[in-house]
């Protein structure tokens, strides 16, 4: 009999070609990119403002025109025809080309910005100079590689956001959510920080602050230069500092309790914003195996531990040697950190230990012990900073996690690993909210009785690699720490089985399931 070893549908004429509108759109987009590439190779453009506008405009226009070609003539509904036939979205030739190109861009951006024309001594050259007019208009300063990146990032979220809304125009949840990430990216990540920079002068300075970028995603938020700037900037700076602390300790827990972590990950966050818009064509590439899930749990929680240790070391260091500058002492700070961690671990084991798998228990206790030991050593030996220098920790974290993981791998590898590899395996913010979502939140994805047919659409299109159908086919609610609440599983379900909900109950019944097909009245099982 037939042994299945490959996807048979690749044999003949499936829907993988693009139509004429899409071809024209691609051409326009390529010409926009060409302007940027030429600029990068120091081709001098006159009236660079106009050329920048043409470049960005044609990129955005091409994406929107492409969407029109893809969805304009079709009825509202699910638009996944040919996803696994197109080489860009199925790890084919174009997928690899795109992955390599994006990865290359990130490597240049993070580590060789001079290649883009960055020049902090004299005038910028290259593609960065092309962005000077826009940067000057917003903040009054010349562009940096980060401004170039931020601009392209925002254009991508806006244009691909429109594409996503077009694709899911039948789905109001998706439309609203996408509008939200477009809004937060444009306003909070792009325009407001640039305008704040405009306020800076010789006597007054605020750090670049994307207010929605919460520590620990924003791992550098409490570094000394930033804290000092905020303190020195008077009330407004102090307000920003307090907001930064409240964001993670108060605002995040409340919103995650009420709505799950989706309030952030798929409605607000910039990383999530790009993943949900530009990254949407790659969501099916996430690994759904239990092996990947296990990797994910160890990796992402290790990053949490890393960021906690790193931040604690950095803060306690400057609190230590600059003690007269701050009202908080190093000792009090360290005791505070220990107290918060002890409280969290204590609550977890007091109320939710039945929900912890064995490796979760080992991980939680093991990591807790490591953190306590390190803080203990640090506290008792005075100035020696844990076992490592705080600066070493900081720069290692910045390089490995901040640049390589979140940027180069997280985004550059979209066409290979899927669009949420960073969020899933690396983001400490997602992990912290995930723990709360798993154990103390009203959010869940409800399975509708026994209507599941195990078709696999939900799992396939889960960007976080959750095997949704494994729960749905058992009639079980999906309560998973990694779920970002994008709602696509519910959208692609052909039988109306999945619903994202903020239920009343946060206790046991949130996890309960029927052991037997609901509606089978003849069979009873005594299975919890």
């Amino acid at each position: 009999m037939t042994k299945i070893d490959k996807d048979i549908a690749l044999v003949s004429g499936p829907p993988k070609d693009i139509n004429n509108t899409q071809k024209i759109a691609t051409l326009i987009g390529m010409s926009g990119l060409l302007i940027l590439v030429l600029a990068a190779f120091n081709v001098n453009f006159p009236h660079i403002g106009i050329w920048l506008a043409i470049a960005l405009g044609s990129i955005a226009a091409s994406i929107i025109l492409y969407s029109k070609g893809a969805y304009g003539n079709k009825q509202e509904g699910i638009k996944n025809d040919g996803v696994w036939f197109k080489s860009i979205s199925s790890r084919g030739f174009w997928g690899w080309i795109a992955g390599i190109a994006m990865t290359g861009f990130y490597i240049v951006l993070y580590f060789f910005p001079a290649l883009l024309g960055l020049n902090t001594e004299r005038e910028n050259g290259g593609v960065i100079a092309l962005f000077d007019p826009l940067s000057k208009a917003l903040s009054g300063n010349a562009a940096s590689q980060w401004f170039v990146y931020g601009t392209l990032y925002t254009v991508a979220i806006l244009a691909f956001g429109i594409k996503f809304m077009w694709k899911y125009r039948n789905n109001r949840y998706e439309r609203l959510r996408t509008f939200s990430v477009m809004f937060f990216q444009t306003g909070f990540a792009f325009i407001i920080p640039e305008l704040i920079a405009r306020l800076n002068s010789d006597s007054f300075s605020l750090p670049y602050y994307d207010l929605k970028n919460v520590w620990p995603l924003n791992y550098y938020n409490f570094e000394q230069y930033r804290v000092d700037e905020m303190i020195n900037a008077g009330n407004i700076g102090l307000a920003m500092l307090i907001f930064g602390v409240l964001s993670i300790l108060v605002i995040t827990p409340i919103l995650t309790y009420k709505y799950g972590k989706r309030w952030y990950c798929s409605w607000v966050c910039g990383c999530g914003g790009l993943a949900e818009t530009a990254g949407d064509p790659f969501r099916q590439l996430s690994d759904k195996s239990t092996w990947a899930w296990k990797m994910e749990r160890w990796m992402v929680h290790s990053v949490v531990v890393f960021v906690v240790i790193m931040t604690t070391a950095v803060i306690s260091t400057y609190l230590g040697y600059d003690s007269e500058k701050y009202w908080l002492t190093k000792g009090a700070f360290l005791i505070g950190v220990v107290a918060i961690l002890t409280l969290l671990i204590g609550l977890l084991f007091a109320f939710r230990r039945d929900e912890l798998k064995k490796d979760a228990k080992i991980g939680a206790i093991g990591y807790f012990a490591i953190i306590l030991t390190m803080i203990g050593i640090h506290y008792s030996t005075g100035n020696s900073i844990f076992m490592f220098e705080a600066e070493t920790l900081r720069s290692t974290y910045g390089f490995l996690i901040g640049s390589v993981f979140s940027g180069v791998i997280g985004t550059g590898f979209y066409p290979i690993l899927g669009n949420r590899a960073w969020c899933r395996f690396g983001c400490p913010m997602a992990a912290i909210m995930g723990m709360q979502q798993r154990f103390f939140s009203k959010f869940r994805i409800t399975t509708n009785g026994s209507q599941c047919i195990s078709c696999g659409n939900c799992s396939t299109y889960c960007e976080m690699g959750i095997d949704v159908k494994a729960y749905a086919q058992k009639g079980q609610n999906i309560v998973r720490s990694s779920c970002v609440g994008c709602g696509v599983c519910s959208a692609v379900c052909p039988r109306g089985v999945l619903k994202l909900e903020n239920g009343e109950d946060v206790g046991d019944s949130r996890y309960d399931s029927d052991p037997i097909t609901f509606g089978n009245d003849g069979v009873f099982l005594n299975v919890k």
């Binding site: 009999m1 195990s454 909900e501 097909t517």
Partner: protein, 429 residues
């Protein structure tokens, strides 16, 4: 420890195996001639359309079977020795068993049409059918689908995804006319046409015409119309695939005959799923139930009986679902194509013609009987509760929003529906 052999690795056989494993330590072997691993049959269309790969439609990862000690055997069984408790494989192998579960499923119905076995003519049920369809639909300009049911409309959607024009022959005066009542049937028919399907009602296939190479080149309808085409889909339902049992002493009718315990006429041989035919259905429904959900329930039930807890098949309130192009469909309770004498009907349709809700209740005692819903998601447990408890229709209307399973922020049609239904009730009263 007994050896339990299960023929068929579809939802019924696999569910039986899983539950036998939960309940016992018996040796379990699942036999299939189709694929090595269980896949979701209902998802075949998505592989053809490129939404998923074969890997994606497997409900369990491959290590699941090893971990649960369920042996998988690829092979075709042409002969069952029911008395000697032995399976004969095509390869010549033999396999003894203590308990046999026949869960071999269906095959597409063919009603003896002239030309039904020509190249380019096929049904759609198995993985092999999908492979064949992949081959048959190359260089195809127009396809004709015969039989207006669930597989037919799936096939239409599949072919359209490859820009193949589709003519759809339906015997009844509306799509799925033997199951859907008039309003719903017309709503779906309209939607099918909006996808540029050439939908022809009250049209039956007369014969399929070959070209010089023995390949389909056209069909003729009973009205005498000739339609040239390169592909013919036969989707006039499916029937039990039980020919291999004809040489055995297992009693057959259309399917394998079973009682309420899913027992055949031979001790320790059971049949479940599509291929099982009840002498008399325990709840009075049709004796053949070819639905995913009932296959699952039969699997759960037979596992109990095999593991020494003799249990009758007792499905609760009927439910089913499907999707017609972009319109989802759910049904709860039994909705007849033609309403029964004692039934009163409430019907609402959205102005866009893509959503509707029908509630059926008993005229005499106003107890809630059934619902059909298109384009709106309802909550299974709530509907099940109302029907099972014979809730009064007034009560159902009052709490109608409890049944809302629509995604967040969706247009809320429930206030309008309630108002509409209340006025309908007042008019009839």
């Amino acid at each position: 420890m007994k050896h339990i052999a299960i023929i068929g690795n579809g939802i019924s056989g696999v569910t039986a195996a899983r539950h036998i494993r939960k309940l016992s330590d018996h040796k379990i072997t699942i036999i299939s001639a189709e694929t090595e691993h269980f896949f979701s049959r209902t998802a075949l269309m998505y592989v053809y359309m490129g939404h998923m790969k074969y890997e994606n439609i497997k409900p369990y990862e491959d290590h699941f079977w090893i971990k649960n000690r369920i042996d998988l055997k690829m092979g075709y069984v042409p002969k069952v020795d029911a008395e000697g408790k032995k399976l004969h494989f095509q390869s010549g192998e033999e396999m003894p068993f203590d308990v046999l579960v026949i869960a071999c499923g269906s095959k597409p119905n063919k009603f003896g049409w002239k030309g039904q076995d020509l190249e380019g003519v096929q049904g759609l049920y198995s993985w092999q059918d999908l492979e064949l369809m992949e081959k048959n639909s190359v260089n195809c300009e127009r396809a004709v689908i015969v039989g207006g049911g669930l597989i037919g409309i799936e096939m239409a959607e599949m072919l359209l995804s490859r820009s193949i024009k589709v003519t759809f022959l339906v015997r009844e005066s509306r799509f799925w006319g033997n199951v859907l009542p008039k309003e719903e049937g017309e709503l779906v028919s309209k939607h099918i046409k909006s996808h540029q399907v050439d939908l022809r009602f009250e049209t039956e296939l007369d014969e399929i015409l070959p070209d010089e190479n023995g390949r389909v080149k056209a069909i003729r309808t009973k009205n005498g119309d000739k339609i040239s085409c390169q592909f013919v889909g036969l989707t006039a339902g499916v029937g039990p695939k039980v020919d291999f049992l004809k040489s055995s002493s297992i009693a057959l009718n259309r399917g394998v005959l079973v009682n309420e315990f899913l027992e055949t006429n031979i001790p320790n041989i059971y049949s479940i799923g599509d291929c099982a035919e009840f002498h008399e259905h325990p709840t009075g429904r049709r004796n053949l139930e070819q639905v995913w959900y009932t296959g699952k329930m039969m699997g759960e039930t037979v596992a109990q009986t095999i593991c020494n807890n003799k249990t009758a098949y007792q499905p609760g309130v009927w439910f089913n679902s499907a999707k017609f192009f972009d319109i989802e469909y759910q049904t709860y309770g039994w909705v007849w194509a033609e309403p029964k004498e004692n039934e009163a009907i409430l019907y609402w349709e959205h102005a866009n013609g893509k959503k509707c809700l029908k509630l059926i209740y008993n005229k005499t005692d106003s107890s809630f009987l059934a619902a059909n819903v298109f384009g709106i998601r309802l909550r299974h447990k709530v509907l099940d509760y109302w029907i099972k408890n014979e809730t009064k229709i007034e009560e159902v209307l009052k709490n109608l929003e409890d049944a809302n399973f629509e995604p967040e922020f969706y247009e809320n049609n429930f206030p309008e529906i309630k108002k509409h239904f209340q006025s309908q009730i007042t008019q009839t009263a």
